[in-house]
């Protein structure tokens, strides 16, 4: 942990603070939510790394998608993700968000979450234990360090593609496009 290295702080305050002040928004998207309470309470105490659950996406910069994503939950997930202020990171739990997992041929569960919102990191497993969560977070740190955790930039860059994917699923989404969507109709 380089939290105490003053030089690094002075050089890259943005990266450093983003790393060590991860405010988490999580809501019960899937079964992985069961792993969150242990990781933030006394046993594992995520707060010592500055990871702290907050109440609204406005205050958060890390989005934990805990488990499989049904069609019904995806819409709030997209909206919540869009409401978080940039820079923001997303970490998906378990195998379901990666490729559908055991729900891959379900009629109301999506298979690839990263078609709809950008995912900065996956924690594989069904389901991952708190240790894995911490592993995921430390991995996220390295990604932030290396500048690879740029999902929010990707989302903005390729917004028309994401939006068209979302709209293919739902038809009308119920809120206007977040960014410019040129070429959306052409696809």
């Amino acid at each position: 942990m380089d939290r105490r290295q003053l030089i690094k702080w002075l050089k890259e305050p943005l990266k450093m603070s983003n790393k060590y002040s991860l405010h988490v928004v999580y809501f019960c998207t899937g079964c992985g939510i069961i792993e969150i309470p242990p990781s933030i309470t006394a046993r594992w105490d995520a707060e010592r790394f500055g990871v702290k659950p907050v109440a609204t996406p406005r205050q958060a910069n890390l989005f934990l998608i805990t488990g499989y994503v049904s069609l019904k939950t995806l819409k709030p997930i997209i909206r919540t993700y869009e409401q978080m202020p940039a820079p923001k990171y997303t970490v998906a739990f378990g195998s379901c968000p990666i490729d559908g997992g055991m729900y891959w041929d379900s009629y109301n569960t999506i298979n690839h979450l990263d078609k709809y919102i950008p995912i900065d990191g996956y924690i594989a497993g069904c389901m991952p234990r708190p240790e894995a969560v911490f592993a995921g977070i430390t991995h996220l740190w390295t990604l932030i360090d290396e500048g690879k955790a740029d999902g929010y930039k990707k989302y903005r860059r390729n917004y028309s593609q994401y939006r068209s994917n979302q709209e293919r699923l739902y038809g009308e989404l119920g809120w206007p496009p977040r960014f410019e969507t040129e070429g959306l109709e052409n696809e």
Partner: protein, 617 residues
């Protein structure tokens, strides 16, 4: 000059009525011109030597006279200034109403009556102008039909009771001393017995208390203020009610004189202390009743009662600082309460409701209205750098330093009631999601905004430089026999406590700019619409997504049982009693000739028998 003011005022009222039958546009500007002229004339009289001029020799044996002193000048100029603004505001508000001419006529009549009240030099002309203002007020309150009718009736009945008390007191003074001139009475009353002075004080207190809505006499005010047309509510709350204050100052400090007034009774049983305690009740209870109201104008109306409590507390407490605070608060109240009534009136006109549970989100449609209302509410609460702060500060200071912490407690707790209802007012009208039905609310015209903007500028200006007004008030209190205060442009300095608005202003400005710079220099923001709000991912429901209904429900559950207006119930009982009495009396006329004949013979027989038996004659 004084006569000219009254002639212009009353003549203007009449002429504007007949002008209105011809063309409404010229009537509007004429009415405005009349009052601008009056304002000009009144301000011209600034700090002239007190003088008395008889304008009507020999009305029923009296010489009716006018008189200008620093005290009456202050009230008169306030009346004139607020009247001008209210007339500007009425241009748009009253458009499309059927009885416009009547409205203008009555409005100008009320204002003229108030000018007369402030300028009158003897109690009889005071009474006459008082009555003229009272009945025209009655007609104006009833103006909006519907619920306004019982409100107007309630007002006028209580007002008539008050004037009856005043009439008795005035005539009793006359029969004792043979004069009614304000300047002469004080020498006579100085020799009067305590009991007689209390009798006179009580009668006047009933009269002015009714007008000023001090607690046992306040019940007319809430319905009247809320049902009157908005421009008139502004006049009613800002000026007319405060004519009671003027009367109280007149009777306590000018006619009786400070020594007599403060010398009645001892300790907590002294007269002025009892009135102060009543004023304390007037502050607390109505301020919290205002919190419970769902009707925006009713909230403001109850708030008027509460604020009147501050003013009366200042007037009756009996120190120079308190009196100055009372007068200052009167001026401030005239500013912010007229502003608030105007703004709520505009809201009502735009949305055709004033139910706080219905409104919301208007900040997006009428931002200027929001800002001026905010300034008004800030003045009402007494946020530092608005005028309301300063008067309240003076009042609290003198209450505490004179050893009356409980009165100070009442006043301070009342302020918390004020905070609660003021915020609710702002919040429920302007904040929250804009309901679908108010999407096409448009901005109002310039003439509606102008008076409100002027008033809000005045609120802030006199909050930062209270010295402008305090200087005038200082002259008044000095003329009433108090030691002058050390007034500066930026506030008051004394050994026991100084307040310097410039310090606060400078600190707030510097710190504000620094915080603003910090805010600006950090990362950019993106503007989002109202619909983009946190809803746990769900889209914002269309229609109502606001928390306005039952805003203070947890509090209401606790305090509502204690805030029932028992005085109103008592009056209701009295009215019921009179009704029963009247019904009983009416049955004397049975409709049978036989009974009637029996009455005649019975009277004859009775008189004869009494004469034979007792020989009283």
């Amino acid at each position: 000059m004084l006569e000219a003011i009254l002639v212009v005022a009353f003549g203007g009222a009449l002429v504007s009525y007949f002008l209105g039958r011809w063309t409404s546009r010229i009537r509007d500007y004429f009415a405005l011109g009349v009052w601008i002229a009056i304002l000009g004339m009144t301000s011209y009289l600034h700090q002239i030597e007190p003088k008395i001029s008889t304008f009507y020799p020999g009305f029923l044996g009296y010489d009716l006279s006018l008189r200008i002193t620093s005290l009456s000048w202050l009230f008169a100029v306030t009346v004139a200034a607020v009247s001008v603004l209210v007339i500007i505001y009425s241009f748009r508000y009253i458009k499309g109403h059927e009885k416009r001419n009547l409205f203008y006529f009555l409005l100008l009549l009320v204002n003229g009556g108030m000018m007369g009240i402030t300028l009158s030099g003897d109690l009889l002309s005071f009474y006459i102008f008082w009555e003229i203002a009272s009945w025209s007020t009655f007609l104006l309150i009833s103006f909006n039909r519907g619920k306004a009718l019982p409100a107007g009736l309630r007002y006028v009945v209580m007002s008539v009771i008050g004037s009856a008390a005043m009439l008795v007191a005035t005539l009793s003074l006359y029969s004792s001393y043979g004069t009614l001139a304000l300047s002469d009475l004080s020498t006579h009353l100085a020799t009067a017995g305590g009991g007689y002075v209390i009798f006179i004080f009580l009668l006047f207190f009933v009269s002015f208390g009714v007008k000023n809505a001090i607690v046992p006499f306040h019940t007319w005010l809430p319905p009247a203020h809320s049902e009157a047309p908005a421009p008139f509510s502004a006049v009613l709350s800002g000026l007319l009610v405060k004519m009671g204050t003027y009367g109280l100052i007149l009777i306590f400090y000018l006619i009786a004189g400070m020594k007599i007034f403060l010398g009645l009774g001892t300790g907590i049983w002294s007269f002025h202390y009892i009135i102060s305690a009543l004023a304390g009740v007037t502050i607390v209870v109505p301020s919290f009743i205002a919190v419970l109201q769902d009707d925006a104008k009713k909230t403001l109306a109850w708030s008027t009662v509460g604020q009147a409590g501050y003013i009366v507390l200042g007037v009756s407490f009996g120190t120079g600082l308190a009196l100055a605070a009372g007068i200052f608060h009167f001026l401030n109240h005239a500013m912010f309460k007229s502003l608030l009534f105007m703004s709520i009136g505009t809201v009502e006109r735009k949305t055709s409701t004033r139910d706080l549970n219905e409104l919301g989100g208007l900040v997006k449609r009428t931002p200027v209205l929001f800002v001026v209302t905010l300034v008004g509410a800030a003045g009402l609460i007494g946020i530092p750098l608005t005028n309301g702060f300063f008067s309240k500060w003076m009042l609290y200071k003198t209450l505490i330093l004179e050893g009356n912490p409980f009165l100070a407690f009442a006043a301070l707790v009342g302020t918390w009631g004020t905070v609660l209802y003021s915020y609710r007012l702002i919040h429920n009208v302007f904040f929250g999601q804009l309901p679908e039905k108010y999407r096409d609310v448009t901005r109002t015209s310039f003439s509606t905004y102008l008076p409100m903007v002027i008033l809000s500028i005045a609120i802030v200006f006199f909050g930062v430089f209270p010295g402008f007004l305090l200087g005038e008030i200082n002259v008044v209190t000095t003329s009433l026999g108090f030691t002058p205060l050390d007034v500066q442009l930026w506030g008051i300095s004394s050994d026991s406590g100084t307040v310097n608005t410039l310090n606060i202003l400078a600190a707030l400005a510097v710190v504000g700019v620094m915080v603003w710079y910090l805010f600006r220099s950090s990362a950019e923001t993106t503007e989002v619409s109202q619909e983009d709000s946190y809803t746990a991912g769900a889209p914002v429901p269309q229609g109502r997504f606001t928390y306005t209904a039952d805003f203070y429900r947890p509090l209401e559950k606790i305090i509502r049982p204690y805030l029932k207006d028992r005085i109103e119930d008592f009056y209701g009982m009295l009215v019921g009693f009179v009704g029963v009495l009247s019904d009983t009396v009416r049955r004397i006329y049975t409709g049978y000739v036989g009974t009637y004949v029996a009455y005649i013979l019975a009277l004859l027989a009775a008189v004869l028998l009494v004469q034979l038996g007792w020989k009283p004659w």
